[in-house]
């Protein structure tokens, strides 16, 4: 199985990537890990005359902690780099767990977080937990750098705010030392399955009172979405199981799932209710955590 012919560039600087994108316009595409791009090229669902490889850009690879800024993850960091990161395992186990349950080992060794985000697949696993933790995307274009909260980055399935000549360089997770977070992936199989429903949450407690909460849902709307009504139901209230149930109901009402081969809209909506409740509880009681569950017939 072959891809169509294309021209290949492997620039030495990120600025050069932007110049090439400007020069070739919509004929060019960035090649990061290629785990999605190569498959689409082979299937003929897309076609580009030019691929711009990021292979020489080691500065976009890796995870650092910067005092006062937070955890900074380069766009070329692979999923297994997230899984094996000491910084994430200590600070945001929820992120490394979300990455751990993606695809299979071979894909996790090659696929990058930049690609996972820029592809804007509604069921992608990383956006919900990043959104729940308030992650900021850094974008470089010919005019310089700009930042966008990840929750405002997606505009539709496969669509983002990224201009044709811009590239995502980093994701930053701001410091939130008293917050707990969690991601639950619910799939048809334990490995190599897309999420039927993905629910991420982060909660900051003050004694028994929920001071702040963020809920982000995957695979139940055209884009990874915040469940703001559910969050509003929680903030300022005392933590009880009934309250979390109410938030689950609110989240299930505000999402807009479709029916497809992985599950019906009705089923997804009800699973959003269940997993929102569970995810919030984990964020409150377990620090940072992640879980992967499969449907009954997947067992």
């Amino acid at each position: 199985m072959y891809t169509p012919d294309f021209d290949y560039y492997a620039p030495q600087t990120v600025q050069e990537v932007c110049s090439l994108l400007t020069q070739f316009g919509s004929k060019a595409k960035i090649l990061s890990g290629g785990t999605d791009l190569m498959v689409k090229l082979k299937h003929g669902t897309i076609d580009y005359e030019v691929l711009i490889s990021l292979k020489e850009l080691n500065e976009l690879k890796g995870i650092t902690y910067q005092e006062g800024k937070g955890v900074v993850v380069g766009a070329r960091t692979t999923h297994n780099d997230l899984v094996n990161s000491d910084i994430l395992n200590e600070k945001y186990l929820s992120i490394s767990e979300a990455a751990h349950h993606m695809a299979g080992n071979q894909i996790r060794n090659i696929g990058t977080i930049g690609g996972n985000i820029v592809n804007a697949v509604p069921s992608a696993d990383l956006p919900p937990i990043f959104i729940a933790l308030g992650a900021i995307v850094t974008i470089l274009g010919p005019e310089g750098e700009r930042t966008v909260p990840l929750e405002d980055f997606f505009t539709g399935p496969g669509k983002t705010v990224l201009a044709q000549n811009e590239i995502v360089t980093y994701i930053t997770i701001p410091d939130q030392p008293t917050t707990g977070s969690n991601y639950i992936k619910f799939g048809l199989r334990r490995s190599g399955a897309l999420a039927v429903v993905g629910v991420a949450s982060s909660v900051t407690m003050e004694g028994n009172i929920i001071k702040d909460a963020r809920i982000a849902l995957g695979a139940v709307a055209p884009v990874p979405m915040r469940a703001k009504n559910a969050e509003a139901a929680l903030i300022g209230k005392e933590y009880t199981d009934e309250l979390l149930e109410q938030a689950g109901v609110a989240a299930s009402q505000e999402c807009s799932p479709i029916s497809d081969i992985r599950g019906s809209a009705e089923y997804r909506r009800d699973m959003v209710r269940v997993f929102t409740k569970r995810s919030l509880k984990a964020s409150i009681t377990k620090g940072h955590s992640g879980e992967h569950l499969e449907t009954e017939h997947g067992k």
């Binding site: 199985m1 072959y2 891809t3 021209d7 290949y8 090649l31 299937h43 071979q106």
Partner: protein, 168 residues
């Protein structure tokens, strides 16, 4: 990277790969996949082609210590990398303990997934010499065996790790 354009205007690139300890210089097109270089240029046909879309793992090779799907990696992206294929697992004519344990445990049925399985297992045991069954299953989750012979494959990897294996 050196490129050569022929009189029909087709561009080819000169890349260098270290495969099973030997360094090769090969000429590839931009859209040549790593699996095709291994199989067609270097005649290392132990690396199999299955789905060719990164799902089945039969094309697994170890690149810079990590198992990857060679069917969705451009040869150009592998320029300068160190690659181990199934042909590089046995050393000096002596089978690797994983190859021995796959034979002992009858972990091979049709055999098509076996090279990929062994390379995924090899990368696991190099990184983690004493894995749990869960870790073994996770490590080979990206390798599909359509004979569904997973039980014996897991046993074989346990045996290679020096762990007790249930006899039936």
């Amino acid at each position: 990277m050196q490129a050569i354009v022929d009189k029909e205007g087709i561009k080819r690139y000169l890349i260098s790969l270290t495969v099973n300890g030997d360094t090769y210089t090969v000429v590839v097109k931009a859209n040549t996949m790593l699996v095709n270089v291994l199989r067609e240029e270097l005649n290392l046909t132990g690396t199999k082609k299955g789905c060719e879309t990164g799902d089945c793992g039969s094309c697994t090779v170890i690149m810079d210590g990590k198992p990857v799907n060679s069917c969705i990696i451009l040869a150009l992206e592998a320029d300068g990398k160190e690659i181990t294929t199934i042909e590089g697992v046995a050393q000096n004519g002596v089978l690797d303990k994983l190859q021995e344990s796959f034979l002992n445990q009858t972990a091979v049925q049709c055999g098509y997934c076996t090279p990929g399985m062994i390379l995924s297992a090899k990368a696991l045991l190099t990184r983690n010499p004493n894995p749990t069954e869960h870790e073994i299953r996770e490590a080979i989750a990206g390798n599909l065996c359509r004979c569904t012979g997973y039980v014996n494959i897991v046993k074989a990897i346990k045996e290679a790790a020096g762990q007790p294996v249930d006899e039936h």
